[in-house]
Structure formats: C-alpha cells, structure tokens
C-alpha cells in the first residue's frame, strides 16, 4: 500500500474520525474541568455541612503538631487521625481511620467531639466516611453507631470500645461482622486517644 492509498483508505478515515472526536471531547472536558473545579476547602466545607447539618466556620488543625510533638497520638495503636478541624462553636470534627478490619482493611469515620469552655463533654455524632475491604458494612444498623454517642459517661470515665466487655472496654459488635465492628471501634478509640491527649489538653489550636 502506498502512502496515497493509505490516506484514501477506510483505516485512515477511521483513525482520523476517532482522533478528532477524542480531541474535541478532551478539549471540552479540560475546559469544563477548569470551570467546574471544586477546591479542597469547598469539599471540606461540604463534608462538614453534611456531617454537622449546618454550615459552620472551621480551622484545620495540624494533627501531629508544628514539630511532630503529637505524632504518637495522631498515629496510635488503634489507627490514624487523618484530619481534625476546630469549629467556630468550640467543638471539634475529627476524621479517624481504624485499622485491622476484615482482611486487614480499615474504616474511616467522622467524629464530632463536644467541647464546652475547652472541656471535653463527649461524642456528639459519628458518621462513616468510607471503608476498605469491609463487605458487611451495610449490615450495621443505626443502633450500633448510637452506642458511641449515648455512652458519654463511659467515655468521660476513660473507657474505650471493643468486642468484649472487660477492663473498661464497652462491647459493641455487629453479629457476623466482628472484624468490621473492630475496625469501627478502633477508629473511635483512635479519636478518643487523640482527644484526651491532645485536644482536651489544649495541644494543637
């Protein structure tokens, strides 16, 4: 096939048409992507509104501290603190990931910690942000999550959450999803460690 024949062939026409469509589509999407860009701040504001139920001003905290002095609490034996925000009404919003779930996966939770005059008052809301490898998360009922917000006496007394009721650990388990329950408990415990050791002591501001 000569070059002239190639340019007259159906194969060339096919390549040309597909390339043109792809280029126009790509260009259009690039422009729209720029126009409809959602900034990280806007995403955070939306997430806060969804969790908190209203728009509220916030300040993002450096979870590990300026010089990493709180790194041991932001990344503790239960998991990691991904983000923490101080809300303008004095409460804190924490995004915490609990590890050791089903198949080594994790569960990430948003937690609203109530504070009054700088004093920790307990947990107000817990909402699942996302999870990895946890296939039974849809089995979790609202009552499972209510345990964390309706036992503030246990929390303020230094208690934690787990599968068994022993040594100050309050049992919270969804039958058939032990590992996923464990990951949720670990996520809450991770946040509690951070709240007690950093936020309640006036650590990061």
């Amino acid at each position: 096939m000569t070059v002239k024949q190639f340019f007259k062939s159906t194969a060339f026409k096919c390549i040309l048409v597909l390339t043109c469509i792809a280029l126009v589509a790509g260009g259009l999407l690039a422009i729209l992507n720029d126009v409809l860009y959602i900034s990280p701040e806007e995403r955070t504001q939306r997430a806060i509104k969804k969790i908190y139920g209203k728009e509220v001003g916030f300040t993002e905290l450096n979870v590990a501290g300026e010089n990493g002095e709180y790194a041991q609490f932001s990344s503790n034996q239960y998991g990691n603190i991904d983000n923490a925000f101080k809300l303008e009404d004095g409460n804190y919003l924490i995004k915490s990931t609990g590890t050791e779930g089903y198949k080594g996966g994790s569960v990430t939770m948003w937690i609203v910690a109530k504070f009054q005059d700088g004093q920790f008052q307990g947990l107000d809301k817990v909402i699942v942000e996302g999870y990895e490898k946890q296939t039974l998360m849809s089995n979790f009922k609202a009552s499972f999550y209510e345990v964390y917000t309706s036992n503030n006496d246990h929390i303020l007394g230094g208690g934690m959450f787990g599968n068994a009721s022993s040594d100050g650990v309050m049992g919270n388990l969804t039958s058939g999803a032990t590992f996923s329950s464990n990951a949720v408990n670990r996520s809450i415990n991770c946040a509690l460690v951070y709240i007690r050791n950093v936020l309640a002591t006036g650590g990061v501001q």
């Binding site: 048409v17 597909l18 469509i21 589509a25 999407l29 729209l32």
Partner: protein, 231 residues
C-alpha cells in the same frame, strides 16, 4: 416534521417502547436507585440530558462516522456527555451526586443510550433523533419516578422526602423489594397497555366490519381469521 411523526416518536418513547417497562432496558439503575422518587427523577433527567445530547450529535455525525468505528465513536461521545453531567452534578447538586453514586458514571454503558444511538440516531435526521432522545429519556424518568415513589411510600413512609406516616415495610427498600416492585409495575403496565391496544383494535375492527358482533380475542391470528371470514 408531521404531527403524526411527532406523535409516533413521543408515544414510542413514553409508552409503546418505554425503555424500563416495555423493553426492560436500564434495569441496573432502575433496581438500585429507586429507593426514593427523588433519586428516580435525578437519574431519569441525567439520562434524558445525555440521550438528547448524544442522539443529536450522533445524528449530526452519522454520515461522517465510518461504519467500522461506529460503536467506539458512540461510546466516546456518550462518555463525554456523562462526564460533563457528573462534573455539573458534583458542583451544583452534590447530594444527588452522592446518592446516584457509581450508577452515574455507569450511564456510559447504559443499553438505552447505546441502543437509541445505534438503532435510531445513526439512521435518522437530527430533529427526529433529538425528539427521540427527549421522549425516551422522559419515558425512563417517569418509570423510575413511579417505581421510586411506590418504594418510598411503602418502604419509608414518605414521598419526595416528605414524611407521610410512620408505617413502613422495610422489604420495599431492600433489593428483593426492588425486584418485586419492578415486576408488579411491569405486569400492571403491560396488562393495562394490552387492554388499551385491544380496545383500540376492536374499535378499528368494528369500523371496518360494522355488521360483525364478535368478541375479539387478544392476538392477531384470530383477528386475521375473523377478517378473512368477513371478506
């Protein structure tokens, strides 16, 4: 375009060839997203917009696109519009965007859109194709909204998010409830459709053969037999 053609296209999209209730296409979003009427409307309107845009563009390019790369070209065009809808929804209607979840990008492979592109838009003029896109989309929208409303009323005791009563049958919000509701709605719609068509046929038959007092059965075979006898 004649009035008859417009009527045909609109009636096909909305009722006669309703993608959800007559052709049983787009079943995946129908079952998964109809937990509420609002989700049904949202998904339906997104599909309508994509159908309108893709049908129009495919019809415009129908003489340019070689037959050999027809399907990849259609998918490329549809995927572009789906991505645009995703971006717009995420920016302006974030709640609906998260409610539709993975089913929004999956519109790319929705058989209603590819089906209309292949069977209608690639063979018909632009105006006809655009109208076909609008009415097929609206047919999909009303079917999804109706199934969503039934499931929301029975499963959550509310409609469009407004609480009606505290009585709930949780079965209707489950996957099994989705199959059950979809099946019942298809059966009722097709039963109603068949009876209307029958009545119409009987009327036409009576106009042709006024002296015949027959109870016309459902199918064409018997109709032909009677017609032959009449001749």
């Amino acid at each position: 375009m004649t009035g008859k053609k417009f009527k045909n296209i609109s009636m096909d999209g909305l009722f006669r060839n309703n993608p959800t209730l007559r052709l049983v296409l787009g079943t995946c979003p129908t079952l998964a997203l109809t937990t509420s009427a609002m989700n049904g409307i949202g998904m339906g309107l997104a599909v309508t917009f994509i159908l309108l845009c893709s049908n129009t563009l495919i019809s415009l390019l129908r003489k340019v696109i070689p037959n050999e790369v027809r399907i990849p070209s259609f998918v490329l065009i549809i995927a572009t519009f789906v991505t645009i809808v995703r971006m717009v929804m995420e920016k302006f209607i974030p709640d609906l965007y998260s409610a539709l979840g993975v089913y929004l990008p999956l519109i790319v492979v929705n058989c209603i859109i590819l089906g209309r592109a292949e069977s209608f838009a690639s063979k018909n003029p632009v105006l006809d194709s655009s109208l076909d896109g609008i009415f097929t989309g609206l047919g999909f929208t009303w079917a999804l909204t109706m199934i969503g409303a039934i499931r929301e009323i029975l499963g959550s005791g509310s409609i469009f998010g407004l609480e009606l009563w505290s009585f709930k049958i949780e079965f209707f919000t489950s996957a099994a409830g989705a199959f059950f509701t979809y099946g019942v709605v298809i059966a009722l719609f097709n039963g109603l459709f068949a009876s209307i068509e029958n009545r119409k046929r009987r009327k036409e038959f009576k106009l042709l053969y006024p002296s015949y007092e027959v109870d016309l059965p459902n199918k064409d075979k018997s109709e032909n037999k009677i017609a032959k006898e009449a001749k």
